[in-house]
């Protein structure tokens, strides 16, 4: 190194390879985002306590809900139809949903946290205007459209993510 280079280089030298005459360097990336669940915190906290929490609009002036809306799952804190704050409700146990569609995930993208292969399912509920996604807790359990499922909560060692709820056949 030249003695004139007083200001030190403190990085890790970039790995370089030459491809068809062009230098291609490695540029590693690893950062942490501090992501908030905001007003949806009761949903994620609920999963770790074995509760499935939804929201509904109870604003009588709402054009769509007329004060008695269907459930939203995933929940929303604010009604998209009238902008009123929605009300939290806990789904009564035993919770039963119906498989609306599904896929077998053979391989996930980088960082996938579920052991592959597994079944991703879409679940329909009575009196719910949405069809949330989930996954089956047992990959040997082949899903069928129209089959009934009930949730399994990861209350021990929760991931604090949407993966704290999975589903099993009834």
């Amino acid at each position: 190194m030249s003695e004139e280079q007083v200001v030190k280089y403190t990085g890790e030298p970039a790995k370089v390879k030459e491809v068809n005459g062009a230098w291609v360097i490695d540029f590693p990336r690893a950062f942490t985002h501090h992501h908030t669940y905001g007003k949806l915190t009761p949903y994620f906290k609920g999963l770790t306590e074995g509760k499935l929490m939804a929201t509904k609009c109870t604003n009588p002036k709402c054009n769509i809900s007329k004060g008695n809306g269907e459930m939203w799952l995933p929940p929303r804190a604010d009604c998209p139809d009238c902008y009123a704050a929605m009300e939290w409700i806990e789904l009564k146990q035993p919770i039963v949903g119906t498989i609306y569609s599904y896929t077998e995930v053979k391989r996930g993208g980088t960082g996938v946290e579920i052991e592959v292969p597994y079944y991703q399912i879409d679940i329909k509920f009575e009196n719910c205007c949405t069809i949330p996604k989930g996954y089956l807790c047992d990959s040997r359990d082949e899903p069928k459209i129209g089959a009934k499922v009930t949730p399994v909560f990861r209350t021990e060692n929760p991931s604090h993510t949407s993966l704290d709820i999975s589903w099993k056949s009834l």
């Binding site: 053979k106 991703q120 399912i121 949330p132 993510t161 993966l163």
Partner: protein, 459 residues
């Protein structure tokens, strides 16, 4: 929303007509280390301004540009915020104003929609629209994760981190409810990869069979590997002008009509609603379909259809005066990121009625020589999905067809040589004879943003 107010349904009314006059693009590759991103964009723009059919020199064309719209899908992939500024400077276009446009997979269509609005309003007379994507800085599986961050990160992304897993349940449901034979899905892959064999721009040309597609590896059941597009690198560019400028530059510019629609990022949040009707449908058209949907515990648009595409078609057909799309359109370029998304769209844009989508393929209408061939370019599955460029590429392929220039850009030996390829000895022209009107779709997410554009012969 699930109910519309009168203002929500207003049909766009431009203050003056908009024309597309010239186009350029790179070839598309899974990896393109030989060139930097801005070098690729310059290559596309250079081809655009140097079009030998233009009545002005490349310098004169550059001297006429007064605005630029740039399409780029993901900062993640480029790993460069304000990439637009870097490209714009590299193109030597400062101090003209430029804007970056981002609507996922529909970015290219949205960039043309915005560029058209810029021209229609009088903000500019001559607007460059260029799009790009460089998806080769990360490996395919990290690329899959990046794309899956275009699913809802709170409730969906963690459920696979691969975008095919959000389309696969749609394919599963469509298959069951609308009796879609897997062979029809496979036929779309075979058709588009086959047409890509005639294109020097194509990344994944191939002569495949239906059996080969269905016997191939499953990505997310039921979708097979050959039914999915790939990571892609490249760029596409067009020039949009007002009428006076368009005819100063070209004797055969094409007239542009374009509008867009949007729908929830999460398919889960698509509430039951009534189908907005196209000009060739009425309140009785879907009486049976509504019953069938009800009997399968379904809903509209559910997992089968895209409100965003239907809404965009609803607006664009009224702008362009199209009353019966399958009869009036001479060709279409659709967003076949997956075979299923291609098929789902047939009903949305009225090439068939809802519930009858597979008939567009099985009738032969969708093939070269058919009533309204689709994706003669090779589409996304066969040719490219360098996302920010995609909706521009599809428009370009329609324009070249209308200008009767398919052979010039796909069949000339120099085009193949330019990309280091050899023209196949069995090369086949896919020029549609006497094409007057064509449509292209640019589509994002699982239907979060969709533009529908119509191009018609302007001379």
């Amino acid at each position: 929303m699930i109910k519309f107010g009168p203002g929500n349904l207003r049909v766009p009314k431009w203050t003056r007509p908009v024309y597309m006059v010239s186009a350029g693009m790179t070839d598309f590759r899974k990896k393109y280390p030989e060139k930097k991103l801005e070098e690729l964009v310059l290559e596309a723009v250079k081809m655009c301004v140097e079009d030998p059919k233009l009545k002005k020199s490349a310098q004169e064309v550059r001297d006429m540009i007064n605005f630029a719209c740039y399409g780029e899908f993901a900062d993640h992939f480029q790993d460069q915020l304000l990439c637009e500024a870097k490209v714009h400077d590299y193109l030597g276009l400062d101090p003209l104003f430029n804007v970056g446009i981002k609507t996922g997979g529909a970015t290219g269509g949205s960039a043309i929609l915005m560029g058209s609005s810029i021209v229609a309003s009088g903000q500019a007379n001559c607007c460059l629209v260029a799009g790009w994507e460089r998806m080769d800085e990360v490996d395919t599986w990290t690329g899959n994760f990046y794309i899956s961050t275009a699913a809802c990160k709170d409730f969906e992304t963690r459920l696979a981190r691969i975008y095919a897993s959000y389309y696969a349940p749609m394919a599963r449901r469509f298959q069951q409810v609308y009796n879609l034979d897997e062979k029809v899905r496979a036929a779309v892959a075979v058709k588009n990869r086959g047409y890509a064999c005639s294109s020097p721009f194509a990344q994944q040309p191939g002569k495949h069979t239906i059996e080969e597609v269905l016997e191939g590896p499953v990505v997310c059941d039921p979708l097979r590997m050959l039914e999915c597009c790939a990571m892609s690198v490249g760029s596409a560019a067009v020039i949009l002008c007002d009428e006076e400028t368009a005819f100063k530059l070209s004797d055969n510019p094409v007239k542009v009509y374009i509008a867009g629609g949007s729908h929830t990022l999460r398919v889960s949040d698509r509430r039951d609603m009534e189908i907005p009707l196209l000009p060739n449908e009425d309140e009785h058209t879907y009486e049976k379909l509504y019953k069938d949907i009800k009997s399968s515990d379904g809903r509209w648009p559910g997992f089968e259809s895209f409100l965003a595409a239907r809404f965009a078609a609803y607006l664009t057909y009224q702008m362009a005066g199209i009353e019966n799309p399958i009869e009036e359109l001479d060709l279409v370029e659709l967003h076949d990121a997956f075979t299923i998304s291609d098929i789902q769209t047939y009903g949305d844009i009225g090439l068939t009625r809802y519930g009858e989508e597979p008939s567009y393929i099985t009738s032969g209408d969708a093939y070269y020589g058919g009533k309204c061939p689709a994706n003669l370019s090779g589409g996304l599955i066969g040719t490219m999905h360098a996302v920010g460029a995609t909706g521009i590429f599809s428009a370009i392929e329609v324009m070249w067809q209308l200008q009767n220039r398919y052979d010039e850009f796909h069949g000339a030996d120099e085009m193949w040589k330019k990309f280091g390829k050899t023209k196949p000895t069995d090369w086949k022209s896919l020029q549609v004879e006497n094409a007057k009107k064509g449509l292209w779709v640019s589509h994002a997410g699982v239907g979060s943003h969709v533009t529908v554009g119509v191009l018609e012969k302007g001379w």
